[in-house]
Subunit: 226 residues, 2 copies
């Protein structure tokens, strides 16, 4: 198979707590253990968030460093992707871990609504995060919450603000943002391929959309996140 299916495991995320689900790995050692299980089951990318002592999302570079080191030791060959998402910090704090030169980091290139707030990724911050990724040789995973984010990523790749080939994740199922809609999913793929023929994509469904999105991704040739 020339385009093997990459399985991407999102450990922890930024929202769930032990109260929601006692099985959620929160400490660094719990995260490493849980990722190792997924790695042994075939996952090849670990999408990582970290928490502080109180269990709150943080961008603390020291915690990211410990997680990265543990994953490199226990999951040799696994691709470590650190989140620069907005739930864990504000402004340039969000990119403080990029100097660790992880294999990959997530990158939002536009703004959109989330269930109760605006997910703010100002043009300046986006450009700064992208330039840090070039400096530290980090491959971005573009988090596309809307069609315009896919288009913006292709423009940034075309003018050198992002290093190609692009790797884009379609995110669907967040309230007040794009729902899981199959014609739109198909158009995402079509538009990405039209504007950046060498791009690769994966997709993540949030909440009840997760299984549907995984099925579509596998059927349509993308990578999946579990």
């Amino acid at each position: 198979m020339s385009n093997p299916c990459i399985i991407c495991v999102a450990i922890t995320g930024s929202l769930p707590t032990k109260e929601n689900n006692p099985a959620v790995p929160i400490t660094i050692s719990e995260q490493i253990e849980s990722t190792q299980e997924a790695f042994e089951a075939g996952a090849s990318i670990a999408h990582c968030h970290v928490r502080d002592e109180a269990g709150k999302p943080t961008s603390d570079p020291d915690r990211f460093a410990r997680l990265k080191e543990g994953l490199e030791k226990h999951c040799p060959g696994m691709i470590v992707q650190l989140s620069t998402g907005g739930r864990s910090g504000a402004g340039k704090e969000r990119g403080g871990m990029l100097s660790l030169s992880p294999d990959m980091a997530s990158l939002s290139v536009g703004s959109n609504n989330f269930p109760t707030r605006v997910y703010e990724n100002s043009p300046d911050l986006v450009d700064w995060l992208a330039s840090e990724m070039i400096t530290h040789d980090v491959k971005p995973e573009i988090e596309a919450f809307d069609l315009g984010h896919i288009v913006q990523a292709t423009r940034m790749a075309a003018d050198g603000r992002l290093k190609g080939p692009l790797y884009v994740q379609f995110v669907m199922g967040v309230k007040n943002s794009m729902p899981a809609d199959e014609p739109i999913f198909d158009f995402y793929i079509e538009t990405l391929k039209r504007l950046a023929p060498d791009a690769q994509w994966c997709a993540a469904g949030i909440g009840p959309a997760q299984l549907k999105i995984n099925e579509w991704s596998i059927a349509k040739g993308g990578h999946t996140r579990t």
Copy 2:
């Protein structure tokens, strides 16, 4: 013709100044005069912003009231659409003119990036503006800067937060937001018709995109803004 072409004229907008273009109407009486010319030339909707004494965009309900009154007198039968856009105020200020019960008002239902900043339309503010439009019997023109905004409008119409039939404007050509792209334009129409079959649409191209967008709108059966 069962679906006559509605021509929508945007007088002034929120950005141009007399320094950019001495012909831009800024005072209320200049705006009324200029709209009357467009009305006599066939425009049927006036999309209105107002400026303060210093020429800065404002949401001042008194100024909107004077403009609305003048337009009703000089352009009888013309549809008056007041802007609730984010350049002229913050938070609920943006909806202060809705109690004037204009025929229409613009409404953004999502957030996106603008050339140098985030265009913030938080879920709470969107819902409040929409409810004010229902209270004061104002027909919204949805300003869609991305595909997700079209989808969100159809969800709001389906659950009663917006009164149908929807009237959606596709906005293209704003830097860092959706460019003028014909396959995407076509998909906007297709998606709107699929999710809200009774919806109508118009389109606005910003800057150099204006003529192209007008051509596409006319060719594909939408209303146009000049």
